[in-house]
């Protein structure tokens, strides 16, 4: 762990560290990163889309000064795309080019068996590291300083892949039949994210620290907004947060998450809004809500909600605690 990676001393250090790179971590998130470093365990992050699961990995990589290696999962992803592959094309090309060199070499030898014996010596050259195409997982294990490995949307991968991932994550080593076992000099800080598309296997969950990131508290969201969209006036930010928080209390198909709040704040800044009003909310509601039904459900309530958000914004709940 002492490699090049910064040694994490306390939960507070994580909090301030991530804060420095624009990621406002809740106490749980900071604890998770701290424990992951200490126990050398991957973190499995679950939660609705847009609450900053992927962002966490990015911020952690920046803060720790490590390369971020990202692996996006999808159905049909397999070892050859995740771990390594032989550069078949290069191998073929080289054999073609080297054909001329091989011919005289083999020609000198006596008979078929002699030629074969010589070929045996040559064969291994084509299965050396030069012909190995490392994919994200292997790349993360090979980093001399360690790395932040982000396995994004692991729930989209197949069950078989999940089992395979398990093997890699438990020991941070892989074996390549032609080369032997590759052990990570420094275990990477691994972050897996899941949108709960399907239930992940118990075995995988057991190997990981399980972090659930939900929608943030008003105070936290206000802080996030302050870092991510500082160009918005503070009064506007408070109202924004109050409005979005109220929106999450409604029965909607898809609730707006933090990323939508940030987008909305930026949109409102572009439109030179100083505070919320019914007209502007109606015009920009499609930034927050992604379904026609949701917009239709909220539209008649906008007037009341804007008023409520304005009065809520004055309570200390939405204050920016700095």
């Amino acid at each position: 762990m002492d490699g090049g990676a910064r040694l994490v001393t306390s939960i507070e250090a994580v909090e301030t560290g991530l804060d420095g790179f624009g990621y406002i971590a809740s106490r749980q998130i900071a604890t998770a990163v701290f424990l992951a470093q200490r126990l050398n365990k991957p973190i499995l992050v679950e939660g609705p889309a847009g609450v900053g699961k992927t962002e966490l990995a990015k911020a952690a990589a920046q803060w720790l000064g490590l390369p971020l290696i990202r692996m996006q999962c999808y159905e049909g992803l397999d070892e050859s795309k995740a771990l390594y592959e032989w550069k078949y094309g290069k191998q073929l090309l080289y054999t073609q080019i080297l054909k001329d060199k091989l011919a005289p070499m083999l020609g000198e030898s006596e008979g078929l068996e002699g030629a074969l014996a010589k070929l045996h010596g040559v064969g291994d050259i084509f299965y050396s590291e030069q012909f190995l195409e490392p994919r994200p997982l292997l790349k993360a294990l090979q980093q001399p300083q360690g790395a932040v490995l982000l396995v994004d949307e692991v729930d989209k991968a197949d069950q078989e892949f999940e089992a395979f991932l398990l093997e890699v994550l438990s020991d941070f080593q892989v074996s390549i039949p032609e080369l032997g076992t590759i052990v990570a000099p420094v275990p990477p800080l691994t972050i897996l994210t899941s949108n709960n598309l399907r239930d992940l296997g118990d075995a995988l969950k057991r190997r990981c620290l399980h972090l659930h990131i939900g929608f943030p508290e008003p105070k936290l969201e206000a802080r996030i907004l302050a870092t991510r969209a500082p160009e918005a006036a503070e009064g506007l930010r408070r109202q924004l947060v109050a409005f979005v928080q109220a929106l999450r209390g409604l029965e909607l198909k898809k609730l707006p998450s933090v990323s939508e709040t940030i987008d909305w704040a930026r949109v409102l800044v572009l439109l030179h809004a100083r505070e919320l009003d019914t007209q502007i909310v109606r015009d920009t509601l499609n930034v927050l809500l992604k379904y026609e039904v949701d917009i239709a459900a909220v539209e008649p309530q906008i007037l009341a909600m804007v008023d409520k958000a304005k009065s809520d914004a004055l309570t200390p709940n939405y204050g920016v605690a700095m």
Binding site: Q28, T31, R38, L92, D158, R206
Partner: protein
Amino acid sequence: MSDVLLDFVRAARGTGIRISPAESIDAVQAMHALGWEDRAALRDGLGLVLAKTAEEKAKLAECFDLFFARSDMKRPEAPEPEPEQDPSVSDQQPMAGAAGEPQGVGGSVLGEMLRAGDLAELAARMERAAEESGVRNISVFTQVNLYARRMLEQMGLRELDREIARGGPAAAKLRQGRDWLRGEARALVERNLQLFARGETEKYREEMLRRARLSSLDRRDVERMRVLVRAMARRLAARYARPRKHARRGMLDARRTLRRNMPWGGIPFRTIWKTRKIEKPRLMVLCDVSGSVAAVAQFLLLFLWSLHEALSGLRAFAFSNRCIEVTEILARLPIEQAGAEIMVQVGFGSSAYGASLEDFDRLAMRELNHQTTVLILGDARGNRTEARADLLRDIADRSKQVIWLNPEHPMAWGTGDSDMPRYRPYCKLATHCATLDQLERVIEDLLRASA
């Protein structure tokens, strides 16, 4: 300290969280990393290591608070008395007795402490007594008094009683103190009961429910049942929705590789591997909601709804004296309303299987193909209407298989107005299905066979 943690793990298991030994080792490591002082951090940390869903996290946090609420008083001095706990217990009694002697009361240890108002020490003693009397093994609430009594005796209640009986100026105050002690002891035992015994009873109830007949369920169990059914449907669906394309890595598809590499003169720059396609079976479910199976129908509908939630491409039909498609209702409404809505539309009538099959013939016969599995849930009691077994034969011919789940025992098939024997020849599987366990087994087999 790790003993305390192991007790906590046991308590957490009681709330229904599954914790493996490996995870409890992780928990110990996490505790060492986080330290014992920062309660909130420890709770977060244990939540990260032990709980694997958001619900489990909430449960664990609740359990954590309950568990550590009791050690609040003793915590600051906890590490110190534990190693020397045993000698101190045996030493203290004569010592305290000697200390009491000069006052001329011959007071008990407990009396002494009560008089001195040493709450911290009392609480610490009570904890110790609780440990020694094995209060953590409590399993039913009737044991509360027993354990409370045992604990107090361990603490020296008998001597206190004697002192009170002897009377004296402080007797009234001591009596008060004794009552207070009793109350505290009971509260402690009850907390333990809540912590350690909850899992047992819960587990027992669930097990019973899974085996209980669907037709004879209590109203108050419905909510619990709903949770069970949903969990089951989700489990089944997870297995069912497995990917349909399997790559067989290592098997080169020579034909396609050659074709793909024509531009390079047949030199295989781009390799193509063989894949295996697994066809996704399609499911059509017909559910009887007539009066004769009304009690069961509620759960069948619930099951149907949960399955629908988890599976795409499921088509659902409900029938009594006629048959309608309810796929859309299931999709549109939450379960309570969907069930009621279906019941309003077709429910409670006397069933006519022939007519319903005719309706189905019109509604969906054309869409049956060799991938479709038709699942019928019903008792096959058609009230002496025409059975139209020929329609079922058509369905069986056109589809992959017909499966009939009957809430009646096979002994009753064919008695009275049951048309089961007539339908049976066309079913690949006709089976008795009256409990949740049976339902799960049947559906599981079905999905495995067709996967």
